[in-house]
Amino acid sequence: MNTLEIKNLNVTIDGQRILKDFSLTLPKGEVHALMGPNGTGKSTLAKALSGHEDYEIESGEALLDGEDIIGMEPDEIARAGLFMAFQYPSEIPGVTIANFIRAALTARLNEGETFRAPDFYKELYARMDELKIDRKFTSRFVNEGFSGGEKKRCEILQMAMLKPRYAIMDETDSGLDIDALKIVAEGVNKMRGPDLGILIITHYQRLLNYIVPDKVHVMADGAIVRSGGPELALELEEKGYESVTAEPAGASS
C-alpha cells in the first residue's frame, strides 16, 4: 500500500508512443533517481502521472497508496498526494507566492476546516529560511522575473509547504549553479523521511552527489532498462549511457 506503483504504463503524445510498458515501484520513505538521455520519456512520465491533458494514457496503472490516479484530473491527483517540481515552472503574474501557496493549501482543506494564517506564515518563513529565500519573496509574483535558481527553490518551497506523499522532481538540477544546487539538495534532504517518496529525474550524476538515492533506474526508449544502487549513477557518469544501457538489465545489481 505504501508505494507509488506504476504498472505497464503506455503513453502516447500526438499519436506517438513514448512510454512503453513502463513499470516502477517507489516505496514511501525512499529516494529513487530516474536517469537517461534526452527523449527517452522521463519528462513524459512526470507529466502523464500528473494528469496533463496532452498525454494520452492508453493502458496501465499508477497506484498511489493503492488508489489508481490514471484518469483523474490534475488537481485531484495533486490533492491525492502527488507533487511535481516542474522543469519549467509557469509564471503567474499578479499572484504572490504567499497567496499561491495559501490558495493551494486552502484547496486541500476538508469541509469545516479553516485556514490558520498565523501558523501558515510561521511555517512559510521557517521553510524559506531553510532554503535561504529572502522573506521579501513572499510578496513577489510566482516565478515572474525569477532566475533559474530562484524558480527551482520556489518549487522546493511549495513542495515543503504542500507536504505531498510522493514527489517527482523533473530535472530540478537543470539551470542551477553549484551553490543553488547545494541549497536545493539540502532542502530536499531535510524533507526525506518515512512519509515521502521522491523520484528524481535527471540527466546527470551531479545532483546525486548531494541527494544520495536509494535506487537508480536507467531509462531508454520508454522503459527502464537497468536498475541498481547509487553506484549505477557513477557508472553512468564514467561510461556514458550507451554502454550502460547496452548491458543486460540487472547486470550490475
Binding site: S50, G51, H52, E53, E73, P74, D75, I77, A78, R79, F83, M84, F86, P89, S90, E91, I92, P93, G94, V95, N99, F100, I101, A103, A104, A107, R108, F141, Q158, L162
Partner: protein, 468 residues
C-alpha cells in the same frame, strides 16, 4: 397588493424576480404621450417637460451609431419597451415603509445590511423610481442633499438646474438624448463647501420588470473643497427578452473638490447597458471614476473628465469582464482644458470564451496648454483562443509642453499556466479565478476595501461557470 413570490434562483446573485403590480405605467412604446405621462405623474415644472420634448426630437433625429459601434444596437426595439413603471414617486425614509416585495428584493441583495455596516446614505431604485432613500442625520445637518432626481428638481431647482444637462448636453449622443427624454430616478447630490463625506453614499439600481427600460439620471455637485464617494450597484433578473438601461451621470467638482464615483455593473446578460458618464473638474479639483463592468449583453460606456480648471485631475480605473455572449465596449475620455491638468487611465479587460472586450479612449490636449500630463495603460487578458479584444486609443496631443504615456498589453492565460496551478491542487475554476485576480490585483488595490472584496467575490462567481 397581492404578491406571488416567484423565486427562481440561479448562481448569479441578482437573478430572481418578484411579481409586482405598478400603480403607474406609461405603457409600451415611446411617443409624445409617454413623455407627457411621465412629466404629469412627476408633477414637473414646464422647463423640465420642455427639456424632455426637445430631447425626444433629438433622439429621433440621431442615427444609431452602428458605423463605429456594435451592430447589436439594431436589436433594441424601442417600440416594445416600457418606459416608466412605478409604485409611486415618493421614496420611503425607512425600510419598514417600503412595499413588501421591493423590500424583500433589496434585502436579498444585502442593501440594508451594507447601509448599517458602512454607508452614509442609500437610495434604492426599483424600476423607474427610488423606493427608499435615506441619509445619516449628521450629513443633513451639514447641508448635504441626497435625494432622487424627481425630488431634486422639485425641491432644489436653484441648485440643480444650473448644472442639469450642462456637463452632458441632451444631444451628446443618441442615448443621452433618450435618457433626457424619459429619465426617472437616479440621485441628486449636493455637498456644501468644505464638507467631507467620509463614508460612501450608495445607490442601488434594480430592474424587476420585463421589457423594461431604466433611465436614471444622476447629478452630483461637490462645492468648493468638498469630498464625496458615491457607489452604485445594479442587477436584474435574467429574462428571455432584452432590457434596456440607459443612464446619464453628470459630476461637478468645484474648486478643490473631490468626487469618487464607483460602479459595480452586474446586469444580467439580456441587458443593453448604454450609459453616458462625465465629470467636470474645476481648479485643483479631482474626479475619479472606478468602473467595473461584469454583466450585461452589450455595455457601451466611456466615463470622461473635462479638466476645466488649472491643476485639475481626472482618473478612470476600469475593469471589464466579458463572458460568452457579452460585449464590453468601454473606455475613457480625458479632455484637458486648462494648464497643469493631469489625467490617468488604467483599463483592464478580461475576455472569456466568446466574450468580447473593446477599449476606446480619447485624450485631448490642445496646443495652447502647458504642463498637462496623461498616462494611459490598457491591458487585456484572454482566456481561451476564441476571445476577442480590440483597442482604439485616440490621443490628440498638440504643443510641446505636455506629456503623454501610453502602454498596452495583451496576455493570455495559457494551458500550461492552468496545468501548473492545478498540479498544486487548485481546481480549474480556482486556477482561472486566481489568474484573473492576479491580473486585476494592482488595480483593485486602489479601490476602497468593501468594494474590492465585493469585486473579488463577483469575479470568483463569474469564473465558476467559465470552464467548458
Amino acid at each position: 397588493m397581492a404578491t406571488t413570490p416567484d423565486i427562481n434562483i440561479e448562481r448569479d446573485q441578482g437573478n430572481f424576480h418578484y411579481d409586482t403590480t405598478y400603480e403607474y405605467d406609461a405603457g409600451v412604446g415611446l411617443n409624445d404621450q409617454t413623455i407627457d405621462y411621465i412629466s404629469k405623474v412627476k408633477e414637473e415644472d414646464e422647463w423640465v417637460h420642455d427639456f424632455r420634448r426637445k430631447a425626444l426630437k433629438i433622439f429621433r433625429d440621431k442615427p444609431t451609431p452602428t458605423h463605429w459601434a456594435s451592430k447589436d444596437l439594431e436589436n433594441i426595439h424601442y417600440d416594445k419597451i416600457r418606459y416608466y413603471l412605478s409604485k409611486g414617486q415618493r421614496p420611503s425614509r425607512t425600510w419598514d415603509e417600503v412595499p413588501e416585495e421591493v423590500k424583500n428584493t433589496f434585502e436579498r441583495l444585502g442593501i440594508p445590511e451594507k447601509e448599517r455596516a458602512y454607508l452614509a446614505g442609500v437610495e434604492a431604485q426599483f424600476d423607474s423610481e427610488a423606493s427608499y432613500s435615506n441619509m445619516k442625520e449628521e450629513l443633513a445637518k451639514q447641508g448635504v442633499i441626497f435625494v432622487g432626481s424627481t425630488e431634486g428638481l422639485m425641491k432644489y431647482p436653484e441648485i440643480f438646474r444650473k448644472w442639469f444637462g450642462k456637463v452632458i448636453p441632451i444631444g451628446d449622443n443618441k442615448f443621452s438624448a433618450l435618457n433626457s427624454a424619459v429619465f426617472s430616478g437616479g440621485s441628486f447630490i449636493y455637498v456644501p463647501p468644505g464638507v467631507k463625506v467620509k463614508q460612501p453614499l450608495q445607490a442601488y439600481f434594480r430592474i424587476n420588470a420585463e421589457n423594461f427600460g431604466q433611465f436614471e439620471r444622476t447629478l452630483i455637485i461637490a462645492d468648493e473643497g468638498a469630498e464625496v464617494t458615491y457607489m452604485e450597484g445594479c442587477t436584474a433578473p435574467k429574462f428571455e427578452t432584452t432590457t434596456l438601461h440607459s443612464a446619464v451621470v453628470e459630476l461637478v467638482a468645484l474648486k478643490g473638490a473631490k468626487i469618487q464615483y464607483i460602479t459595480v455593473q452586474n446586469w444580467s446578460a439580456n441587458v443593453f447597458n448604454l450609459v453616458t458618464k462625465r465629470g467636470l473638474a474645476m481648479e485643483d479639483a479631482e474626479v475619479k471614476w472606478i468602473d467595473c463592468n461584469i454583466g450585461s449583453r452589450l455595455t457601451m460606456k466611456y466615463p470622461g473628465v473635462v479638466m476645466r480648471g488649472e491643476g485639475a485631475r481626472g482618473e478612470v480605473l476600469s475593469i471589464a469582464l466579458a463572458h460568452d455572449g457579452q460585449h464590453q465596449d468601454t473606455g475613457a475620455k480625458m479632455v484637458h482644458a486648462a494648464d497643469k491638468t493631469a489625467s490617468n487611465i488604467i483599463s483592464k479587460s478580461i475576455s472569456i470564451g466568446q466574450g468580447r472586450s473593446t477599449y476606446r479612449g480619447i485624450v485631448a490636449m490642445p496646443k495652447h496648454l502647458k504642463g498637462c500630463k496623461n498616462n494611459t495603460e490598457c491591458d487585456a487578458l484572454l482566456i481561451n483562443t476564441n476571445s476577442r479584444t480590440d483597442t482604439y486609443p485616440a490621443i490628440t496631443v498638440r504643443g510641446e509642453q505636455n506629456t503623454v504615456q501610453h502602454e498596452a498589453s495583451v496576455s493570455k492565460v495559457s494551458a500550461e499556466q492552468i496545468f501548473y496551478m492545478m498540479q498544486r491542487g487548485l481546481s480549474e475554476e480556482q486556477a482561472m479565478s486566481l489568474s484573473v485576480n492576479g491580473f486585476v490585483n494592482d488595480l483593485i488595490r486602489e479601490f476602497p476595501m468593501e468594494y474590492s472584496v465585493e469585486l473579488k467575490r463577483l469575479i470568483d462567481l463569474e469564473m465558476e461557470g467559465s470552464v467548458g
